[in-house]
Symmetry: C2
Subunit: 411 residues, 2 copies
């Protein structure tokens, strides 16, 4: 029986593991923590899964959080200009955010229930050769620092040197649902963006506030002020940021209820984007393939990391099932089939996290006048490659705006 080893129990690693177990392969996942440790640990992120990812979960038999209860339907955009611009984009089908301390342990259990082997141990680069020889193929979906050295950044692709934003994300009680129910995406030009995400956590249906702060901007301190030193001061700083920069969310805050859902329900830091090579041939001749964060690491500003990891894991899984020969030909197929989507995710994220170029502002202006174009942009959170078809160049934005206008004229 074909034996696959997977290092890392994030979305990429687990989705790949579940697909291969479903197909009857012998799959071992090497995780750094037990399911219980993940469940009881500190929050690591705030992740929304879009419809295409949820569809994949349904195929994998792990869609445990029906969108009727856990989903949301819209993106509520706000641009804090002197004359604010607001508009609402609709998804064709809902997205959903579930705390990964619920999500990942449940998928780890599903994997074991179906005959997968979960081994909890630390792995580093020196373990790759022996592990590669214990399996027909080894996949790596870890975000530990050694993966950067193993796979190396893609030399053909310009990449930022450091983080584009300074982050704070926490889970909060005391924010009323938006109407329509959705993710609020608010821009405070020069300071940053706020993503307000309805999320299901151990505390129930709560709100994630993901502050995407511009380095050197007025809100950069949110990424570094220490909660545990002075929780009240921390809460005040967040409230002040909402009041001054993100009024639409502030309006829905109930001051009496507004509180972090728990001391562990907070992350601060920054992400250095990296797009690494798809695979590496080890000195023993065997190939290891990168999935998830080992392959592409992106800022969460457009919420694509996990969705990309899942899509890319499926490319790897499909390729393995279709052509179980673990050689250069398979590696090239994998690289080729996922390149456009992964690179589009990377490029789109970099565009949104950097200083906005004129053609992005042109698209925003056009979307504020054109619901079809706005809904296309919103639904394209499922399809980063199609989003990049619109956004890749000023000419492409102009052409998308013109096509949408032409469609409107026909209607």
């Amino acid at each position: 029986m074909t034996s696959i080893g997977i290092i890392g129990a994030g979305t990429g690693g687990l989705h790949l593991a579940l697909q291969l177990v479903q197909a009857g392969m012998d799959v071992t996942v090497y995780a750094s923590r037990t399911a219980e440790q993940v469940a009881s640990g500190r929050m690591t992120n705030s992740v929304a899964h879009h419809a295409v990812t949820i569809d994949r979960e349904a195929r994998l038999g792990v869609d445990h959080w029906p969108v009727a209860e856990f989903g949301y339907d819209a993106h509520l955009h706000y641009f804090g200009l002197p004359e604010p611009i607001e508009f609402i984009g609709r998804f064709q089908r809902p997205s959903r955010a579930v705390d990964y301390r619920i999500y990942l342990p449940r998928l780890m259990a599903d994997f074991e229930d179906r005959g997968g082997r979960l081994v909890v141990r630390e792995v580093d680069a020196s373990d790759l050769e022996p592990l590669s020889e214990a399996h027909d193929l080894l996949a790596v979906g870890s975000k530990q620092p050694w993966v950067g050295e193993v796979f190396g950044r893609r030399a053909d692709k310009p990449q930022p040197d450091g983080p584009l934003r300074r982050l704070q994300v926490g889970l909060w009680h005391g924010i009323a649902r938006s109407e329509p129910h959705g993710v609020s995406i608010a821009a405070s030009p020069g300071s940053g963006d706020l993503l307000e995400i309805p999320i299901y956590s151990a505390a129930g249906h709560v709100t994630a506030l993901l502050f995407e702060n511009v380095p050197g901007g007025a809100l950069e301190h949110l990424a570094s002020i220490r909660h545990d030193d002075d929780p009240a001061a921390f809460r005040r700083a967040v409230l002040d940021a909402l009041r001054q920069h993100y009024p639409r969310t502030f309006e829905r805050v109930d001051d009496a209820e507004f509180a972090l859902t728990g001391p562990d329900d907070l992350v601060q830091g920054a992400v250095t984007p990296a797009l690494r090579n798809d695979y590496r041939q080890l000195d023993n001749g065997r190939f290891v393939v990168a999935v998830g964060d080992s392959h592409a690491t992106v800022d969460p500003i457009v919420g694509q990391g996990a969705n990309s990891a899942s899509a890319s894991a499926q490319v790897v899984g499909d390729a393995i099932l279709e052509d179980p020969n673990f050689d250069l030909r398979l590696m090239r197929k994998i690289a080729e089939r996922r390149r456009d989507r992964v690179e589009a995710t990377f490029d789109w994220t970099a565009l949104m996290a950097g200083p906005p170029p004129a053609h992005l502002l042109q698209l925003v202006g056009a979307m504020s006048q054109d619901q079809a174009l706005l809904d296309e942009f919103t639904w394209n959170f499922n399809f980063p490659d199609r989003q990049w078809d619109i956004l890749a160049t000023p000419e492409r934005v102009a052409s998308a705006v013109a096509r949408s206008a032409a469609r409107k004229a026909v209607v």
Copy 2:
């Protein structure tokens, strides 16, 4: 309305043209000959279309030759070893060969009937800039010598320096149908191969004899002896070749009827394989995309040229319809999406036309004992990429043989 110009009226150019006209685009095909000139001209090749190509023709509304009447179902293999090996592979669905002097004129007429514009004129490299400015995108599907210079050989891909075989193909009366009805593929080790193809031409249901002669081998003269100087001697030389090298075909020859169907129904020559770059940016900044023989030229030994041209034209057509932005991003998408199939066609053809390596002989031996593996190989004439999954390396052949044996054991 989007305007596409296509240079060349072969299978690649016409299939692309028909797809884009079907989608409502403004399409101009530049052909070097009128439909009447093609119909009344010399034969240029003997081409079989496989089921995936016929499916595409059905979608394009040009499947005028129902396989019930025009198709065939099998490949009859013969290896002329001291102890001959023979076996018969079955297609899941039929293939079909129609003389291109019937096929192409009919598609040219279909294209014009549907609103396409057919312009008969010579085109060379100096016409590309003005033509590129007369259209949103220019595709080139010509086999004229200038296309080699325009697109250039792929530098990353080792390529043969010259022809691998010396060819003669003619249409003949007087050969009884094989049982089952199919293409006979006979190897005369060291001398060459014969493909005996049931084909529909102006003379009715006749037989194409495609002699694939090894340079320096006993049958090389077939590519150069002149028919018109001495038709009787030419006929004798062909009969002698059949008698001495291809006995299964010779057995079905009716000496009284055996004759070339006409003096124009004969081609001799050789093909220098070439795999060229997918596109070229002209000095005016515009891109031209290669299709068909402009992109990949292959020896006819596994009959893949036209099937590859059609598949690759559809990649171009689909990409244009999905993302009508005629820039580098579109060119890269096209290159990526068709690379594996086109390269697999190129590599598989080169493998079959060169001296057979041990792993190819291993596969032949295994197929002679394993009908499922043989039928998979046969059906894979529809899927060169899957064929190359089996054939790319000795390890892959071993693995395909082992998998097929395991399946047999289960049954």
